[in-house]
């Protein structure tokens, strides 16, 4: 059964980028709970401590280049978490990077569903929602 709303976690050190993602998600009308984190380490703590709802996966939009803990460091720590937690999330990597190494590196992490270019657009988000509905 397709749930009516989806929960989101946005991880980006730029407040403006968090704001943009938040707006675009709300505009879809399918937004459930949306949480923004400017620090990936804080986001990881949050994920560790809150069990995701059993009926639908939470979508994570993750930036690559961030201070303190970057996107790749986050995903490595995330994949170490218990399988039932990891299984509760769909992670999408989001970046302004046009670096080939970054793009290739994304493929090495099985928990990353897809790489998305910044800025996030409503059509890109619509495609994600479409995919999750199936």
């Amino acid at each position: 059964m397709t749930p009516d709303t989806l929960n989101f976690i946005i991880i980006d050190d730029s407040k403006l980028d968090c704001f943009i993602a938040d707006k675009i998600i709300r505009n879809t009308g399918k937004a459930g709970d949306i949480k923004s984190f400017t620090n990936a380490a804080t986001a990881l703590e949050h994920i560790k401590e809150t069990p995701p709802p059993a009926d639908a996966k939470t979508t994570v939009l993750l930036d690559i280049q961030m201070p303190v803990m970057n996107g790749f460091e986050f995903i490595e720590a995330f994949e170490q978490l218990p399988a039932e937690i990891v299984g509760g999330y769909n992670v999408y990597m989001l970046s302004s990077s046009i670096n080939e190494n970054d793009l290739n590196r994304v493929k090495n992490y099985h928990s990353i569903k897809q790489f998305l270019n910044k800025p996030l657009t409503s059509s890109a988000l619509a495609a994600i929602l479409e995919e999750q509905a199936q």
Partner: protein
């Protein structure tokens, strides 16, 4: 000629008389190592890594000169190889060039001039090659830096631009003025961040490619400019700015580098404040004594995690999620201080503040 300036030569020949004759003729011109067989020659090469020219006889019992050169080429590529031989048939010449990669061919019986000319030219060749090696390494380093630079520049310049682009896209579908104003505020920050980054690149370029201009430094005047800028920031954000300058003696240095140092340290102190506290302050203290400038920049801001202190001067390193930083400022500070033969130390504690101490000797 000073003994230390003599270049090192290795001569290998199975005829001991030839070796001694050679040594007698050239011992004043070069530091000569002689070897009666391959084993001895290899021992010399092992012990004297700066041998520049190797001369070898072609006809030896255990190996020909060409074979010897062919064998050592990979392990000792730097010394220039000269073959001495009575045989001048075309086959051995071709072998010498193809297998042994010979630089010169000296015909027996040789004259002192033949040998001397060959060695001097070989030495020139050696010098050119090693200079090329040094230049290549420098170039490689510059390329590596450029790669790192290009990677971060694409991110740091595109990042704010793409944010703004995204915001514009959303704003077009929003009617609520308050929402739009909130977004404009954030777009403003993005533009400022980009501008700061471009200025840092300019600083970086000046520090790396620009010439230093040593003049008499009047710290009073530099500080007056800084006070004008940071008094406004201080008032807006309720941060007390205390300055003390004590300069009784002459001090000579590069003013632009000093400004880069002071400006970056101060801007960090003003930027990374703790929002929650009331008595926010930034203190600048400059004292010139014993031909040295002691600069202290102190704040009671967010401080730096002890685990990350050693990384803060690295290019593009950012210690905090506060989004204003580009990771360029302190790198430029360290670069500038290095150019002025100065030193910087930092004393910092998370959630208590940071104190940067700089000492710079006069030029």
């Amino acid at each position: 000629m000073d003994k230390t300036e003599k270049i090192k030569i290795l001569y290998i020949d199975d005829e001991v008389n030839n070796l001694h004759g050679f040594k007698a003729s050239f011992r004043f011109d070069y530091t000569i190592f002689i070897a009666v067989n391959v084993t001895e020659a290899l021992a010399h090469l092992e012990q004297q890594p700066d041998i520049r020219v190797i001369l070898s006889d072609q006809r030896m019992p255990d190996k020909t000169g060409v074979q010897f050169f062919g064998d050592i080429r990979d392990k000792y590529p730097s010394p220039v190889r000269i073959l001495i031989t009575g045989y001048t048939d075309i086959e051995s010449v071709i072998d010498a060039i193809n297998l042994g990669n010979i630089y010169r061919y000296v015909k027996k019986p040789w004259t002192d001039t033949d040998i001397k000319t060959a060695i001097d030219q070989a030495n020139q060749y050696y010098l050119t090659n090693s200079m090329l090696g040094i230049k290549n390494r420098e170039l490689q380093k510059a390329y590596d830096e450029l790669d790192k630079f290009a990677y971060s520049v694409t991110h740091d310049m595109r990042g704010p631009l793409l944010s703004i682009l995204g915001a514009i896209d959303i704003a077009q579908g929003i009617d609520d003025i308050a929402d739009i104003k909130e977004m404009l505020g954030m777009m403003d920050k993005s533009v400022q961040k980009l501008d700061t980054f471009i200025q840092s690149i300019h600083d970086y370029y000046n520090l790396n490619r620009g010439q230093m201009k040593i003049t008499d430094i009047k710290f009073d005047e530099i500080v007056k400019d800084l006070k004008d800028i940071y008094d406004i920031t201080g008032k807006t954000n309720k941060i007390a700015f205390e300055i003390s300058v004590d300069q009784q003696e002459n001090f000579r240095s590069d003013e632009m580098s000093l400004r880069i140092i002071l400006n970056n340290l101060l801007s960090n102190s003003f930027k990374y404040q703790r929002r929650s506290i009331d008595n926010k302050y930034v203190k600048l203290d400059i004292k010139v004594s014993n031909s040295t400038a002691h600069i202290t920049v102190q704040d009671n801001g967010i401080g730096i995690d002890e685990a990350n202190v050693n990384k803060i001067f690295n290019m593009f390193y950012r210690a905090t999620s506060e989004e204003m930083g580009s990771g360029f400022g302190l790198y430029n500070v360290k670069d500038a201080i290095g150019k002025l033969n100065g030193e910087i130390t930092v004393d910092t504690k998370l959630n208590e503040g940071s104190t940067f101490k700089v000492t710079i000797p006069t030029k």
